[in-house]
Symmetry: C3
Amino acid sequence: MGPRQPVPGVRLSELAARTGAELVAAEANAGGIVIDRVATLDDADCGAIAFLSNPKYRSRLASTRASAVIVSAADAAATALPKLVTPAPYATYARIAAMFNPTPSPVPGVHATAVIARSARVASSALIGPQATIGERVTIGERTQVHAGCVVGDDCEIGDDCVLHPRVVVYPRSVVGARAIMHSGVVIGADGFGMAEHEGHWLKVPQLGRVVIGDDVEIGANTTVDRGALGDTVIEDDVKLDNLIQIGHNCRIGAHTAIAGCVGIAGSTRIGRNCKIGGAAMINGHIEIADGTVISAASGIAESITEPGVYTGAFPSLPHRDWKHMVSVMRQLRALVQRVRALERSRGGEG
Amino acid sequence: MGPRQPVPGVRLSELAARTGAELVAAEANAGGIVIDRVATLDDADCGAIAFLSNPKYRSRLASTRASAVIVSAADAAATALPKLVTPAPYATYARIAAMFNPTPSPVPGVHATAVIARSARVASSALIGPQATIGERVTIGERTQVHAGCVVGDDCEIGDDCVLHPRVVVYPRSVVGARAIMHSGVVIGADGFGMAEHEGHWLKVPQLGRVVIGDDVEIGANTTVDRGALGDTVIEDDVKLDNLIQIGHNCRIGAHTAIAGCVGIAGSTRIGRNCKIGGAAMINGHIEIADGTVISAASGIAESITEPGVYTGAFPSLPHRDWKHMVSVMRQLRALVQRVRALERSRGGEG
Amino acid sequence: MGPRQPVPGVRLSELAARTGAELVAAEANAGGIVIDRVATLDDADCGAIAFLSNPKYRSRLASTRASAVIVSAADAAATALPKLVTPAPYATYARIAAMFNPTPSPVPGVHATAVIARSARVASSALIGPQATIGERVTIGERTQVHAGCVVGDDCEIGDDCVLHPRVVVYPRSVVGARAIMHSGVVIGADGFGMAEHEGHWLKVPQLGRVVIGDDVEIGANTTVDRGALGDTVIEDDVKLDNLIQIGHNCRIGAHTAIAGCVGIAGSTRIGRNCKIGGAAMINGHIEIADGTVISAASGIAESITEPGVYTGAFPSLPHRDWKHMVSVMRQLRALVQRVRALERSRGGEG
């Protein structure tokens, strides 16, 4: 994330070959066009490749000044520009964007201001930033970056090639797999919310489990994942969590599931594999969500979902006056049902 | 939270005596069974005691390999295992779990990298971790732990036996009672959201009050409690706040109230004592919630609640198609009411 | 935010003159009353000026012991106290409160424990607190305060007179205008939530844009603003963000817009100028909200709003039993519509 380094241009034919996309162009020599960056359809100009994935933006194909575009077969006819045609324009774009914006390799080493416990084992290829604190018996894997102000508690294991952005906290005994990315403010392994009522006050229930995170997990800024009460909270491989998400104790999030920002998941819930959970959805504790379930943004899920599908529970807003009327009518619903029943009876009486 | 130390086993009869539970067992010598840890019904084996509190998991009683279980009288018949019978299995479990997992005493002292203002008074039994910053005129109580990267602003008072996990921020002039637990990322005393419109732009309203926190309060990761605008924001004794909660300026949260994750409470609202507020509930500003009120998860509370009881406002989600139909019908509700009225009139005309 | 310094008293006539309010009093010499602080109506006593802005608290005018009050013309008759009458009591209060509580000037300088990259340019009038980290090629403006534990990444530009409270993280290449206030735990410029599905797993989409923040922006504790995917996320001048808000990548928030706590805004959405968004509102991605729109607390906005106005979508909660009945009736709505249709047909048949 330093200043972007200029990277050498790549011919369009080469981009097609590397991504498996089909190069389609009116001009025979389009394969020789040199691309050296990605851009949006609106911002692109000579040398840039843009993409169309969201059909909402299709009209921008007509006006883009990109040298080439990445499109699906369905959109290919909508532009005369040289193009890479692929069933997955967004994924193809992602790969080309990564090609032109390689992540700079960190310079290994431990900053002089970092505090590393004597018993910690930090790979010599790892980077430990300023003011970071690494606890006793911690292991930090090869090429892993622990940036400024991070705190990794005693007995944690952090795998290879992870990036902990500044000010991540990992509580003791947490386990993190390879290639994790954790953004600033993430808190892994804080105590779950466990209290028992006892003679009018709350008794803290010791939170004895861990957080165990698989490989290829990304966790957004200020997201929190609580440690298990007994047993572990588990985030499986390739799970993607956005910002400001709360994962309660003893949850299990299945592999390849993606969860958008501001979602809350109460304790002991199991989310299946390959689920997609929209922003601000709120999911009850002690339930199970089937593999492949899609939950719409801002929906509340109170009970287990056993059949995959799309589930929704969020009302679209209305102009305030209309909304008030609707709410007021809703409150008369029971009466309305009774009135309809009365009408039916009265009709029955007439019949 | 270091590595768990092995603790000596305790006889079941002794556990019963210490917790006031009744020991019930088929075998006369069951009181002599030695227990040395707690576990879930599923994970327990020889030497472990498990508990049943949520009836959802009752079937697991049959298969557990625990040496003993903690159950209510209602569930006692469901297992032949030696058991501690008690009206409050979860609280009894909590106490036994704490017995087998004593919190290790911190090693007192100030880390060499901590920055302590000269006028601060830090108890000699307190622990100040690496990179922590303690402001002018702060007092830190006996045995209190201020872990790595915490920042305690000028003129704060932190009581005895508190634990501030890594990277907590306490703004100036905040007051925290005894035995507080604050998890990582907590922010106490940031400015409330106070602005006045003035000639087309916003004028900042100085936030002059404090945050005052009682004894035995636990605050979850990344939760924020704003300072008062004028007067104080008050969190009374034994309040328990989960993660990612926002408490607005000048709120007062009554003693023994527990609030689950992702809840927002707007400014100047008073929550009573012994309330329970479910996750992601959203509570308006300038209202009052009666003592003992229970608010269901994801419910919106717009107006004061004067009668304790359970209040709910969250729709359960439906398969997306069903939901769309329901929303579309709801939008026809006003028309429906008019149609029913027309039918009633027409019937009246016939009558 | 150190201890409040006593400030000299100011005559009421002088306060009127400085704020443009009208001094109204029964006593001819009321202009000579000396005021030296602000207070709430309830807490005020001799020497204090209080204000009434929220009509909910009008009854408190009768009992206040303030030396003077700030009121609107509509409320002026409700008190016999000396008063400043103004169309904008809250703004007038804000200015007087600021007068009596001037922000102490920071003592410039770089704390010995801060880590400043050699190529960073920090104004000599700026304050850099303990354990702060300033990256390569960063510029920090005049009189700007970067408090304890903040991390400012490479190539950031932070304007003049900003205050970054403890533990703010600003990712590389972010741009922040003058007079920004960022509260603790704010994360600016973390990667947006961009992944493309590719052969059953997620491919990270490089997040190449920046966050660009205008002048006079305040951002609340633990709020996150993601960097753009391509192009920038933009927060325009005088935007006010409360705590625990999530702003997705490539959003643009128009000037003078205020957003209350716990709001989530998904990616690529444009919020107009002078909007007011209530707490916990959830706003979809890729939509546009017209200038001057007001969104009620806890409302979900799924589609673009082209006409300014007040929009609402949050149900008020009910006692649990009533709510359950209402939800159950709602589920019968489609059937009800059909029953009404049947009644209409049957009436038609009679006609």
